[in-house]
Symmetry: C2
Subunit: 348 residues, 2 copies
């Protein structure tokens, strides 16, 4: 049973659920968006992805997807400044959904002044204006969405632009697989039935602090995205970390007081296929440390290619975060505190 | 009043406090440690720092310190594998205190096979053995410490090696300033008096989950180190994040239930001098979001140079984590769960 508008309206008046359900379609659309003016992109020594929040996580996803590809390092930068190494040999991708994110604009200006070739991804604003003035290729994405709900538009054009320029191999087949997998997830997770897995998990989490651990480094940005979506959709605290790094410090932290441990609910993001050592680490750490948590669940990535595995894990988390919002009785769409922060920052 | 051995013994039988107090001296010693065999290091396109936990945070510190220096990007890697871009143009620094960290050894082997020039930092073990076989320069550091207590030995040789090779400018003056600042912190924070700032903060934190936010991106690795030290010394949970990124998602998470917010205690790491926009973000976010926390404190970096500011913030956190352990009645030194994890991983 799909969630009907009449059922949805009181708890999700702005339709965040519909946006989550459009994720697969957005992926297809995002893949075909052109960068204009089209221009040659030389193979860079490094790729720097400038962007904050929902417009910044695309850089983390790009780094994960290109880990095994013979291209320079991908370096996400989430601040007002471009690192000193940025110059003519660096490709800079400046991403701001609104086009008016002050950190990204400042870093983009600095990168431009240092002679770095730049590409912009935005729905408009000052970023589009400056990119057009500077004759930098710009991918213009559909406007009017919360940036976090526009993730496919903000991440996939980076990869598509690099592939079309020949800087990385084609990911067309990977994208097709991902869209198929994502469509199945929408079909499976949109149900309002009380035994829907996303609903069950969302309900279990709503009175806890979710602790999202990626079982493998590849899924690290998915864990971060889950955290961000609990924050923004669910209006609640969440924590994330990654195997195997967490075995070297945070695992000891599970010696915390029992009353504190009971507040935490661990979710481990498992890859479709995992190296044996990492899988053993997860198994042992569950026994030694996480047994003290208020709850523990696992969610498994779906698919063969990196895009399918990463985006499937993310989309499941988006659904779970929506159920957390419903369960907590909050509207998943608005982020009033960010609006108020920007208003106060704009005052002189 | 210094903490006397007779006072200390029952609560810190292995002497973690003495190790924390030796931090400034370790910095001086670390700065002079040679890399042998000495060899020419060509300016790399990128620097990759391999290492986990206490042997990995040095890579994060190096990245922060070199942000404004004209050298390739610094990329910390905390897993079993080296990214595909690693090759003859990449300088790889493999760091494992024991020399037997399986993730670091595996990534080091992969980097070696790809022809990357490598430097090792270790007290011995398989890493030293392999580095000597491969004629890679190795910095041999004093053995017998918990890796996290050996941080100066694991971080500073990276910078010293790069400076001596002419890959980056001299940091000698920066190091001297840092040691002076650190000595003053030891004098100020070793007191057992009930009004000692580290003691007061440690006591306030011991029944909360500390949430450490760096007020500026530069102090991000210090926030992570505070988290790690609460985990390992205090045996308790902790969380970290960074301005301005946290303004784009986690700030909304402070809409959490009041009962959950009351469990959290925010500590903001402030830089000695901060850009005006970032300082305003901190001020506004304190009012809008953190007012709901169970507690809130700020700690300010000391000094002019980056080494002084970063290491001063870290050392203060080390003292606070020691007080958290004392207050919780746990021994700050052993990490039994990591020992048990390694024992089980070693079983076939």
């Amino acid at each position: 049973m799909r969630v009907e508008a009449s059922v949805r309206a009181p708890r999700d008046p702005h339709g965040m659920l519909q946006l989550i359900q459009r994720f697969p379609q957005m992926c297809e659309e995002a893949w075909g968006l052109p960068a204009e003016p089209a221009g040659r992109i030389a193979p860079p020594q490094a790729i720097v992805a400038l962007g904050m929040g929902g417009s910044g996580i695309g850089g983390d996803l790009l780094r994960a997807v290109l880990f095994d590809e013979t291209v320079g390092p991908v370096i996400p930068v989430k601040e007002y400044r471009a690192p000193a190494f940025v110059g003519p040999q660096t490709l800079v991708i400046a991403c701001s959904y609104s086009g008016d994110t002050e950190e990204t604009l400042a870093a983009y200006d600095e990168a431009t002044n240092r002679g770095a070739p730049c590409v912009a991804i935005t729905s408009g604003g000052a970023l589009l204006h400056r990119a057009q003035e500077r004759r930098h290729p710009a991918v213009v994405v559909p406007p009017g969405l919360p940036p976090r709900a526009a993730l496919p538009y903000l991440f996939l054009p980076m990869l598509a632009v690099l592939a079309r320029a020949g800087v990385v191999r084609s990911f067309d087949a990977d994208l097709r697989e991902a869209v198929d997998v994502l469509r199945r997830i929408v079909a499976d997770h949109s149900s309002d039935r009380s035994d829907s897995p996303a609903r069950r998990l969302g309900e279990a989490l709503s009175e806890h602090i979710p602790v999202i651990y990626s079982g493998v480094p590849f899924l690290e940005p998915a864990a971060e995205r889950w955290k961000d979506q609990f924050n923004e959709n669910g209006k609640t605290a969440a924590v994330w970390n990654t195997f195997p790094e967490l075995n070297h410090n945070e695992t000891v932290g599970w010696g915390m007081d029992a009353a504190v441990a009971a507040v935490l609910h661990v979710i481990i993001l498992r890859d479709a296929v995992e190296p044996e050592r990492l899988a053993r680490r997860v198994t042992i750490t569950r026994e030694l440390a996480f047994a003290r948590a208020g709850g523990i669940d696992e969610v498994r990535a779906i698919g063969r290619g990196k895009l399918a595995r990463l985006l499937s894990t993310i989309l499941i988390g988006d659904f779970v975060s929506w159920w957390v919002a419903v369960q907590r009785g909050v509207d998943p769409y608005p982020v009033a505190v960010i609006d108020e922060l920007k208003r106060r920052l704009a005052q002189r």
